[in-house]
Symmetry: D3
Subunit: 141 residues, 6 copies
């Protein structure tokens, strides 16, 4: 029984700051290093969205890419060219690390894709830089 997924890459540019308000400056610097710089710094994020499902025998597609692009781009708009700590509602109580940004993106995309039949969000991968990335997927529990 063959499994098939299709993956599409998206990009956005954002800035963020790692900082715990209840920690001293020293502790913030010790744990977060340069990432605690007060006005933030930024990255070109690269997001890979992997969708699993059955290949439609008529169209030959798991999902029409124009549909996938419409769904994901609408979500990414909230992150693109933003300062994630202040311009989005997602990081009031959690540090915008690559892990946390990826978890938020997985939830937002999954919520939209789960409404559609025959497909499932299988995995996302989020690159903060070319040499650092986070994967999120649904595991067995």
């Amino acid at each position: 029984m063959k499994q098939v997924t299709i993956s599409k890459k998206f990009e956005f540019s954002a800035s963020h700051r790692y900082w715990k308000p209840d920690w001293s400056d020293e502790k913030n610097k010790q744990v977060f290093g340069l990432c605690t710089s007060p006005y933030g710094h930024g990255h070109n994020y690269e997001l890979h969205v992997t969708v699993s499902g059955t290949v439609d025998p008529v169209t030959g597609m798991i999902i029409n890419l124009s549909t996938l692009k419409e769904i994901v781009n609408k979500i990414i708009e909230r992150f693109d060219h933003k300062f994630l700590n202040l311009d989005t509602p997602y990081f009031k109580d959690r540090v915008p690390t690559t892990e946390n940004i990826a978890l938020v993106l997985f939830e937002l995309i999954d919520e939209r894709l789960s409404k559609r039949e025959n497909i499932k969000l299988q995995k996302i991968r989020l690159y903060e830089r070319h040499d650092l990335y986070v994967d999120v997927w649904r595991g067995e529990s």
Copy 2:
């Protein structure tokens, strides 16, 4: 118990057209967009072939790469510098989407590798562009 796979990247350049003869031109355009352009258009495809098996304690290899290259290149020859709809027998009844091309390639490579002992085709990944790829692997059923 450690699992090991080796993956090799291959490349081919081909053209294709998304078009259902029993659909109107309007419906073809609506579903397939630019991909329904009558004389086709093309891509540089990139194929990653992942083989699993035990590492031979003598040679230190799962499979000799010259063997893998010989097998896969013979298959790829049928796709390279071709118009997939007309120059190959695989897309008479199915649209040459990335999903379908990947499924065909998995079957062709798997058929050849399954004749060899101690190795198994674990997965293939087919890139149509740098930002779009399909994975095919054997799932549990």
Copy 3:
């Protein structure tokens, strides 16, 4: 005196065929190899457009990228998802090699950019694949 250029990358997917109607099949194959395949084959082309000019002291820009994208995308539309030999008027009398496609693109972009003040098309680079590219620029004569 410092020189400054800005370069933007664009992408399009197209197919083409190398074939001289006045040559025998043998001669076509001998000179053009696999590229003479009758229904064509394709590539993901990558186009780098380099614009020189003075940096506007107010905006800090040589050219507003939204202007550059509008100009180049309008030209690329004629090539994207096309079979270059039949879908465009540019290769009736010349083979759509990377050299010739690049020359056509240089002329088309240059014609549009030369109408604007303070900027000049300095160079284009066209990749047919990641390992093959052509540069066109204005030389001294």
Copy 4:
């Protein structure tokens, strides 16, 4: 007479904002688009530094890379993990566009390298993203 240059790539992550205080919000948005977002946004910048000179017949080098890295890294430290508008002194009166950041970096690196014999800063290239870059070099005047 052969010319030789050596180029080394460096990376830094920073955020910035395009905004003219003497312009209305509407005009800022119209000219700068998403880049005028109030708290800034960010990028992974990639800087290529190209040095020309004679190849030392003893060491076989134009410049010892450890020297070049020491010089450039000391300059890049001022940009890495910073909000360029507020954390650096360079963009008080100019918009931190890729053009302007590249011009500043050229001056800073050139000032340091010009003190050394037998070498010359020939060019820098600054990528804001993989599809957008600025070149700065010394032209004839």
Copy 5:
């Protein structure tokens, strides 16, 4: 139940030779091809280290990257700028193929990471070239 991993890329440059002392020169050449060249040859290796664990609700991290870098860089030092056959103790009795180098690296990194709570080395990927890579992970047994 969502699964999360973080992956960091590392690089090292090394040389190696494929050669079995108990085989004839002919057999070595037949099996190993160019890789049996007597003084060795080399590669820029790229190592991806993937760590799984729970995201700390305070820091938003699976593992602090400075910790991961310290651990892996200390191991990579033994391979970087070395001739793997003679400069390391790991390939006295096994050929330094990509498979074997990856197995050694997995063991060395796993040994260090397994001493830490809440995290687990999930996978490593080792690229010998951009078109050849080996994955090692812990499978069910």
Copy 6:
């Protein structure tokens, strides 16, 4: 008057050692760092060969790529899977730095291409790693 060049990328894997026999070990280490490791270390080199000339109005080509590949591959064979210090005659009296390897390759390729009409070796670029490269071209003198 438009100028046109075509560039093709080639790859080879080799090892080398930076070491001056008339220097003490201390001096070798101080100048060459890790690169003086006794048995050498290696890289995946990437060579870009840029050829200028007129585009043949019949074939649409500056040079037939099969010709260029034949010429350059024959030269690269001498470097591929070799220890440059001992397996080639070119570095008896000079250190195999990226600068020197590039100068040798330029000479060897130029010697072959200069025998052909209508084309000229314009430039080569040699990458030792993705973040370090040397350009060689013919300058005015």
